[in-house]
């Protein structure tokens, strides 16, 4: 892959980057509220987003720049197994349809902003609230850092090396998120998502015709896997359980993250969320087609230093430079939207479940908004420093653990919507065992999220997140049944 400066590509890139920067700052006037000095306005866009805004925002926030780079890279490296992202992002929506409107209603009725608020309101336990909120923050931090990895891949392909362009892009993002809050990524998401749709549709329509059709794309990938002796077009029989549990576990975890929950809480009704569960799979179709870019990389005979370069290298090799610039801009802007929403989600958690709970319980609405704004800046600078000073692998490992961690908050957050049977101590014990047990298993398996299991003659691997969730629920039920009861508080 060439990484020299290309003036045409760079000009197109800069045009779009400036466009979204202007939009980010203008966003503070978009759908202007009576006051921005309230966390409901800064952190949730006034809970007023209708079907279309929610569709663009959640789509732009859930299908991140890192996804655009990493899913094809995984498919390029391992083949069929990397495709688990497709069943994952399909089965997530029936879950969203059934659960999220109920959660949204609870949050709206009681004025909750975060998962921690919901849990505290349900169980009246500061301990459980802190566990859920802290899990949310530490699972999100490496996720923000990975958006920078996606952006770096795009910048590198444009010939922009080093940390300075990355730092500039991120500081600009931090500034307009500070002033406009969730309105900034919501407005930018329109541009980002439309650009990504154009890029992917062009790629899946045009690239195969240059590479001899899809039949040849699959055949070349198959040949490449056989030549290197790893990876395949179909799953091995020992991969079935891993594939299915990764898909299910990731789907259950996806909407426990602060950034996806922020998108849910910001919508204006349960009906909006249900409608989005019908409409959001459009992005999944896009993701499925995008994953095939990994195979196209084999068909195009790319020579890559890193699998993460497969998407940029394909665009650079097969598209005219103006369109390559457009595609890289789409990926880089694609990193800004999720990074902004993630930092807002983390800032909301810190403000509501730490600052208000422990530092200043009398904080005013305006004070909350101020703390959240400052926190969002700190979070983004932190992520930037992690990427600049620590090895990328560190962020990758933490993000993988983050998925397992965030899944352990599901019982505390969701069960209480349907039953009052559970109490804080049981759920906290379950969370504790799931969180630390899951982390330990990942550590033992050499930072891989899969645990080998042998039953009789058959051996397979299972996703540790789902395994930890099962133990989490069992512990919660047992402790709850055994421990002496106490009246449920509903603040």
């Amino acid at each position: 892959m060439t990484t020299d400066l290309n003036v045409t590509a760079l000009s197109v890139f800069i045009f779009f980057f400036v466009l979204v920067t202007v939009m980010g700052f203008v966003a503070s006037r978009w759908r202007r509220p009576e006051t921005m000095a309230h966390i409901d306005e800064w952190g949730l866009g006034g809970r007023s987003f209708g079907t279309w805004i929610t569709w663009f925002l959640v789509g732009g926030d859930f299908y991140t720049a890192y996804t655009v780079i990493a899913v094809p890279a995984l498919v390029y490296t391992v083949g069929a197994y990397g495709f688990f992202a497709l069943p994952y992002t399909i089965v997530v929506y029936p879950f969203v349809f059934m659960v999220m409107p109920v959660l949204w209603k609870r949050a709206r009725d009681f004025g909750y902003v975060t998962a921690g608020d919901v849990v505290h309101g349900q169980y009246g336990s500061r301990g459980l609230e802190l566990a859920v909120a802290a899990t949310g923050v530490i699972a999100t931090m490496p996720y923000i850092a990975l958006q920078l990895v996606g952006m770096t891949a795009a910048l590198k392909a444009l010939g922009l090396h080093g940390e300075v362009p990355l730092a500039i892009a991120f500081i600009v993002l931090a500034l307009y998120t500070y002033s406009a809050g969730l309105r900034a990524p919501a407005l930018i998401a329109f541009v980002k998502d439309i650009m990504i749709y154009i890029v992917v549709i062009a790629a899946v329509a045009l690239i195969p015709s240059k590479l001899g059709g899809y039949a040849n794309v699959f055949a070349s990938a198959d040949a490449a896997f056989q030549a290197k002796g790893s990876g395949s077009l179909l799953l091995g029989s020992n991969q079935y359980v891993a594939y299915a549990t990764l898909a299910l576990g990731s789907a259950l975890a996806a909407f426990m993250y602060p950034h996806t929950l922020t998108g849910i809480f910001a919508s204006n009704s349960g009906n909006t969320i249900r409608k989005n569960a019908v409409l959001l799979p459009a992005y999944t179709l896009l993701l499925g087609l995008l994953a095939l870019l990994g195979y196209m990389g084999h068909a195009a005979g790319l020579k890559l230093d890193s699998a993460n370069d497969v998407v940029p290298a394909l665009f650079q090799t097969l598209f005219p430079s103006w369109f390559a610039g457009f595609a890289f801009a789409a990926i880089a802007i694609g990193a800004l939207v999720p990074a902004a929403v993630m930092s807002i989600g983390a800032a909301n958690l810190f403000t509501r479940n730490f600052w208000k709970a422990y530092v200043n319980p009398q904080v005013t609405d305006a004070g909350e908004a101020k703390v959240a704004k400052m926190t969002s800046l700190v979070v983004k600078v932190g992520a930037l420093l992690v990427i600049i000073f620590l090895p990328t692998q560190f962020a990758l490992d933490l993000q993988l653990l983050g998925g397992i961690w965030i899944l352990q908050t599901l019982p505390a957050l969701v069960f209480g919507l349907y039953t009052n049977w559970f109490r804080a101590q049981g759920l906290l014990a379950g969370w504790f065992v799931g969180f630390f047990g899951g982390t330990l298993l990942v550590w033992i398996n050499g930072l891989k999220p899969l645990q080998p299991v042998t039953i009789g003659e058959t051996s397979f691997t299972i996703y540790i997140g789902l395994l930890a969730l099962a133990v989490n629920i069992i512990v919660a039920v047992v402790v709850n049944a055994v421990a002496p009861g106490k009246a449920v508080a509903r603040a």
Partner: protein, 65 residues
């Protein structure tokens, strides 16, 4: 099921979980359509199917809030 949480049509939403999480249903190469092995087009096909089933469930509980 409690009317507060869903209607009978919501039970349709279990179908995608069965269709996608039971891997032996679709881990095959043939039949190939438009160059796509079965494994790939089968899973891609579940995207519109799931959206359609969710739409049916949505119609059954519209204006519930």
């Amino acid at each position: 099921m409690d009317k507060r949480f869903g209607t009978a049509a919501c039970w349709l939403l279990i179908i995608p979980y069965i269709g996608l999480l039971w891997v032996p249903f679709y881990n095959f190469h043939d039949p190939v359509i438009f160059g796509f092995p079965f494994f790939y087009w089968y899973q891609l096909l579940w995207v519109p199917i799931t959206a359609f089933l969710t739409w049916i469930a949505y119609r059954s509980m519209r204006n519930d809030d």
